[in-house]
Symmetry: C2
Subunit: 298 residues, 2 copies
Amino acid sequence: MSAPDFPAWSALALARVEQALTDWVPAAAPARLGDAMRYAVLDGGKRLRPLLVLASAEAVQGNGSAALRAACAVELIHAYSLVHDDMPCMDNDVLRRGKPTVHVQYGEAQALLAGDALQALAFELLTPEGDAVPPAMQAALCGLLARAAGAAGMAGGQAIDLASVGRVLTEAELRAMHRLKTGALLQAAVRMGAACAAPALPVATRAALDDYGAAIGLAFQVVDDILDVTADSAQLGKTAGKDAAADKPTYVSLLGLAEAQALAARLHAQAHRALDASGLAQVALLRNLADRVVMREN
Amino acid sequence: MSAPDFPAWSALALARVEQALTDWVPAAAPARLGDAMRYAVLDGGKRLRPLLVLASAEAVQGNGSAALRAACAVELIHAYSLVHDDMPCMDNDVLRRGKPTVHVQYGEAQALLAGDALQALAFELLTPEGDAVPPAMQAALCGLLARAAGAAGMAGGQAIDLASVGRVLTEAELRAMHRLKTGALLQAAVRMGAACAAPALPVATRAALDDYGAAIGLAFQVVDDILDVTADSAQLGKTAGKDAAADKPTYVSLLGLAEAQALAARLHAQAHRALDASGLAQVALLRNLADRVVMREN
């Protein structure tokens, strides 16, 4: 098979994810809870994590049905984390993806519940009735997602972030925080795509994909910090400059802009090398996604 | 095997659950997140849901390792829901199980994150490495728990509850709310215990256990409403009379105390009849738990 055309693949993949999310995030949930959940998830976001799942699954010729569910599940975890992160007791942000945040639109209590329900829904999507996704694959996907979302992953990273406001972190501390806060879920996206392979992949291939996931996970955060100072709110679809304003440690505040940009470039190269080492033939999509993570403008 | 001695079984089961939760809720999670998680979970609560899982698993001679994990997982979901429910944007409660609530003790942001991380941890517990729990059983347990916790279960019930403050509900509406808000997770506890059977149970047995779970789930809430007016805060370990004070609809406000007590008695009898119909021989523990749900004083 020749290397797929990335823009065409990406457009099709995004359309499939959007349709699946529209089908699976329940409109009918009681007392406007469904409205708040759909508002939080649909029609917004770069969908980087779903694309990583799908590209990773294609690289290993994985189960397509499982991959689409995993793609949506990881996006639901990401979406719920944004809903809770934006709440007044956390970042108290009012703008997200160019729209009022969920708690502004639906109230704090509904935002809290919508986030909680989105997390549960992620695990529902991974455990469908019927035989489209083998039970062992369902269990593996649930395990990967739960570990990436929890105290040793995203939630733990957010706790470190909370505790770090106003403190001076070393680069090692900042890296540890982001490895959990954003890195764990990005890496899990790649792992979950790989877990759609049956039989399971060789250890060396999984390790190489893990290296790829770790590199782009960190690169994503470095670029985020760079954009926080180089882009404006309209471009970002969220409040620009807020990390600096909140006196939060960032790669830019720690390393300076030029050195942060150099770090992003090094991580980009690392991601490419990890793909070379994976032994997989069809890594063009993952390669393109690494490029997109580093070159993005929002 | 003769009918087990309930108090002895219950004491042993509670000790096992407490030890497992102590082992599995991570003390080492970053930035005091682990402290907040453990504070929310350990050393408190009636552990009714774990006992239901374990009793149900014993009735079907299920996998003991899976049952202990399921017992803890369902308790983590319950514990996280209390943490979030107590927050200022929800019930704004300061006392729980006789202690300051998590957000009072650790701050709102940490309470939010601890709840989120406890939900993720529930699914981690259900997906252990190694072969103690077959992958298909892991997947079934994750699926049951996710559906009970989400928009069509507990979170949905809480959304209805939020929307119902100050409104007059019919008994049917009140019942629908509680079937989701508390009933779904109690019923899931029974189902998850039953899902520890291999091979899977006959449909009629599962249906009877579902009837049992539904009856005690509703009875639990009716008794909760009764205790809210008949017990004091010290006895409850939480603020008594708060539903009435918040003008929340309850079975007592709707039916009056005597009729609410009669409803609890009818549901109690229904639960016993469902066990008779299950075709299972060892239902004494489940029978005792139904008694405890209705006769409890806190």
